[in-house]
Amino acid sequence: MITVEALKNYGANVEEGLARCMNNEALYLKLVGMAADEENFDRLHAALEQKNLKDAFEAAHALKGVIANLAITPLHEKIAEITELLRAETDMDYTALEEEINSKREELRKLM
C-alpha cells in the first residue's frame, strides 16, 4: 500500500500534491495510484514505436498535466523534457529518454 512517507522518499512534492487535493490524503494517494497506471504511458510508448510524433506529443502532454497536478516531481522533469522535444517534432532517438521515464514509473509502481 502506498504511503505519504514512501512518496516523500521517492521524491514527490507531497505538500504541493496534497494541497491540490484539498489536503484529502485518501484522494491524493488514490490519484497517484491511478497516475502510475495511466494509459497514456502505454500510448506514448506505442506512438514512439510507430514514430508517430504527433500522437506521442498528445500522450506526453496529457501525462505532463497529470503528473504536474499531483506533483510527482521525479517523473515530471523527464516528461516535461520529452513533451517539449515532441512538441517541436524533433527527430531523434527517444529510447534513452523513454527508459528514464519508465524506470521512474516502475519505481513508483513498486511503492503501491
Binding site: 495511466e38 496529457a62 497536478n69
Partner: protein
C-alpha cells in the same frame, strides 16, 4: 459511341482489333472489376511503353492497368477517375500520369477513358492514350522560368523600397532642423506687439504652414520606420489612468474650441496599470480622436468608450470605441481608409486638410501590436472606430486585488459652454458572486485531473457536472435548461472535440444564455496563440494548469457576478 450493354464479346472483339490496329493513338480496354486485367491493347500503346510486341508489353505490365501506371501515381489516378465518374457521365474521364517505359525512362501520358457494360466481358474501361512528355516538359520549364522571374522582380522591388526608406529617413532628419528654426523664429516674431495687422497675418500663416509641414515630415518618418521594420514597441509598466487623463485633456481643449460635446466612458474593471507601449497607444487614440473632431462640426458629439473584453493569466484585452456625429464617410471609401495618402475629398481646397498618412500609420501601429481596427460609418450621420488591443497585466495591483481597479464608470461630460469639468465618478466595485450551490459544467478528458477539479470545486460547495470531451460538454449544455449552468470550465486539449471548437459551438447555439455564460479555458499551454484563439471563440478567461485554487475561485466569482448582473439587465457594467 458505345452504349450500355454494348455487344462486345470474344466474337465481336475482332472489330475493335481492326480499328485499333491502325489507330495512330494508343487505345486499350481493361476490366473494371477484379484485378483490372487488360482485354486489349493496340500497337500504339505497346509502342508508347517502348515494347516491341504484345508479349513484351505483357511482361512489362503484367497486362493489368495497375501495372501500367507509375506506382507513385496509381492512387491519385484512381481517386481522380472515381471523382469524375461521380460528378458526370457526360464526358470522358481525363487523367494525366507517369508510366515507366521498358527502357526505364519515365514518360507522361494523357488518358481519356470511359466505362461501359459489355455482354462478353462485363464492365470495362476503354481508354485513349497519348505520350505527352515533350509538351509536359515544356510546360514545366515555362512555369519554372516565370517563378524565377517573379522571385527576381520581388527582390528588386524590395531592395528599391528599402533604399527609398533609408533615403527618406535621412532626409527627414535633415529637413527637421531648419523647420524647427522657422517655427521657433516665427513664434518669437509674433511676440512683437508692435506688429501691424498685415504683417501679423503673414507671420501667422507662415507658422501654420510650417507646423503642417512638420507634421507631414513626422508622419513620413513614422511610415518609413514602420516599413523598414524599425518600429519597436515598448514593454513597460505605465499608468493607464494618466494616459487617459492626458488624452482627455487634449481632446477636451480641441472640442471646446470647436463647440463639440465630448464624453469618455470606462466600463468593466479596467486596471490602473498595464504593461505595454503607452506612447503608441496614445498616438493611435489621439489620431482617431483628432480625426473625429476634425470631421465633426458644431453642434456635434465625440465619444470615447473603453471596455475590458476579457482577462487572462497575464493579459487583458481592451476594446476602444471612438464615435462621432460628423460628416461620415461613403461606403465605397471605407475599404481604402487605411491606405496611405487616401482622403475621401482630396481636393486641395477642402477645409479638412491633413497629411493623408495618419490612418495608415495608425493601422500599422495597431497591426504591430497584434490588435484589430475596424470602422463603421454613414455619410451625414457619423463614424465609429473600434480598436481591440491586448496589453500585458501589471503586477502592480496584485496586492490590492480587484478593489484597486479603475473606477467602474467614470463619466467625463464636457460641454463647450461649461468652463469647469464635471467629473462623475461612481464607485461600483467589481463584485463577486457566492459560489455556494452553483452549477459548473466541467469539460476535462483526463480522469485524474477531473477528480482534482471536482475536489477543488467541492470545497466551495459547487455542483460539478463532468463531460469527458468537448462534444459531450456541448451536448450537456444544449440539453440543460437555460441558465442552469452558471459557468463552464473548458479544458482545451480533448479528444473528439477540443475546447475551442466546443466553446465556439456553444456560443453559436440559439439560447438566451449562449452568449452570456462564462466559459473559462484551462490549459497547460500559456502560449500566446492559444490565448488568442480562446478570445476569438468567445471564451471569457483563461487559467493555466495546474490550476491554483484561489485564482480559480476568484475568476469564477467575478465572471458569475458579471453574468448575473447582465442577466438582470439595464445596469451597464
Amino acid at each position: 459511341m458505345f452504349g450500355k450493354n454494348f455487344g462486345l464479346n470474344e466474337e465481336t472483339m475482332h472489330i475493335v482489333e481492326e480499328i485499333g490496329r491502325h489507330m495512330p493513338g494508343g487505345f486499350f480496354i481493361y476490366k473494371a472489376e477484379g484485378n483490372e486485367e487488360l482485354i486489349y491493347a493496340n500497337n500504339s500503346v505497346i509502342k508508347i511503353f517502348g515494347c516491341d510486341n504484345l508479349e513484351d508489353f505483357k511482361q512489362l505490365t503484367g497486362y493489368k492497368f495497375k501495372g501500367m501506371v507509375h506506382p507513385d501515381d496509381y492512387q491519385s489516378v484512381v481517386k481522380s477517375v472515381d471523382k469524375q465518374i461521380e460528378e458526370s457521365d457526360e464526358n470522358l474521364d481525363h487523367v494525366e500520369y507517369r508510366i515507366i517505359r521498358k527502357d526505364g525512362e519515365i514518360r507522361w501520358v494523357d488518358d481519356y477513358g470511359h466505362y461501359t457494360d459489355t455482354i462478353g466481358y462485363g464492365g470495362i474501361y476503354y481508354v485513349f492514350l497519348s505520350d505527352i512528355t515533350e509538351a509536359y516538359k515544356k510546360k514545366e520549364m515555362k512555369e519554372k522560368r516565370s517563378e524565377q522571374a517573379l522571385r527576381e522582380a520581388l527582390e528588386v522591388a524590395e531592395a528599391a523600397n528599402k533604399a527609398k526608406t533609408v533615403f527618406l529617413s535621412n532626409m527627414s532628419h535633415e529637413i527637421r532642423t531648419p523647420m524647427n528654426a522657422i517655427i521657433g523664429l516665427d513664434s518669437l516674431a509674433l511676440k512683437n506687439e508692435a506688429l501691424d495687422d498685415v504683417t501679423r497675418g503673414y507671420l501667422e500663416k507662415i507658422g501654420e504652414s510650417a507646423r503642417h509641414l512638420l507634421e507631414l515630415i513626422n508622419d513620413i518618418l513614422d511610415m518609413s520606420r514602420i516599413e523598414s521594420g524599425r518600429m519597436v514597441l515598448k514593454k513597460e509598466e505605465f499608468s493607464f489612468r494618466s494616459m487617459l487623463e492626458q488624452i482627455n485633456v487634449l481632446v477636451m481643449t480641441q472640442c471646446n474650441d470647436k463647440g463639440l460635446k465630448y464624453e469618455c466612458k470606462v466600463k468593466g474593471g479596467v486596471s490602473e496599470y498595464y504593461i505595454g507601449d503607452d506612447m503608441k497607444l496614445k498616438q493611435i487614440l489621439v489620431n482617431i480622436l483628432s480625426n473625429a473632431i476634425k470631421f465633426t462640426d458644431a453642434p456635434g458629439n465625440v465619444n470615447l468608450t473603453i471596455e475590458r473584453k476579457s482577462v487572462y493569466e497575464d493579459k487583458t484585452t481592451l476594446e476602444f470605441i471612438i464615435s462621432d456625429t460628423g460628416i461620415g464617410m461613403d461606403e465605397s471609401f471605407i475599404p481604402k481608409i487605411f491606405d496611405t495618402f487616401s482622403q475621401e475629398n482630396g481636393s486641395k481646397n477642402n477645409k479638412y486638410g491633413s497629411t493623408g498618412l495618419g490612418m495608415a500609420i495608425t493601422k500599422n501601429i495597431v497591426d504591430i501590436m497584434n490588435g484589430t481596427i475596424s470602422v463603421d460609418s454613414k455619410k451625414g450621420v457619423g463614424t465609429a472606430f473600434t480598436i481591440v488591443i491586448t496589453l500585458n497585466n501589471s503586477k502592480h495591483e496584485e496586492n490590492g486585488s480587484v478593489n484597486n481597479s479603475f473606477d467602474e464608470t467614470k463619466n467625463l461630460i464636457l460641454d463647450g459652454s461649461i468652463t469647469e469639468n464635471s467629473h462623475k465618478i461612481s464607485n461600483n466595485e467589481k463584485g463577486r458572486a457566492s459560489l455556494d450551490g452553483k452549477n459548473i459544467l466541467l469539460a476535462e478528458d483526463v480522469l485524474i485531473n477531473a477528480e482534482i477539479m471536482e475536489a477543488l470545486l467541492g470545497v466551495k460547495n459547487l455542483n460539478v457536472h463532468h463531460a469527458s470531451n468537448g462534444r459531450k460538454a456541448l451536448d450537456m449544455f444544449c440539453e440543460s435548461a437555460e441558465y442552469y449552468y452558471d459557468a463552464i470550465l473548458m479544458d482545451i486539449r480533448m479528444p473528439e472535440m477540443d475546447g475551442l471548437e466546443a466553446a465556439s459551438l456553444i456560443r453559436k447555439t440559439e439560447r438566451n444564455d449562449s452568449k452570456s455564460i462564462p466559459i473559462i479555458a484551462m490549459t497547460a499551454n500559456a502560449f500566446d496563440e492559444d490565448v488568442q484563439n480562446s478570445v476569438q471563440v468567445g471564451m471569457n478567461a483563461h487559467l493555466s494548469k495546474p490550476v491554483e485554487p484561489e485564482k480559480l475561485y476568484r475568476t469564477l466569482e467575478e465572471l458569475i457576478w458579471e453574468a448575473e448582473k447582465k442577466k438582470q439587465g439595464g445596469i451597464y457594467l
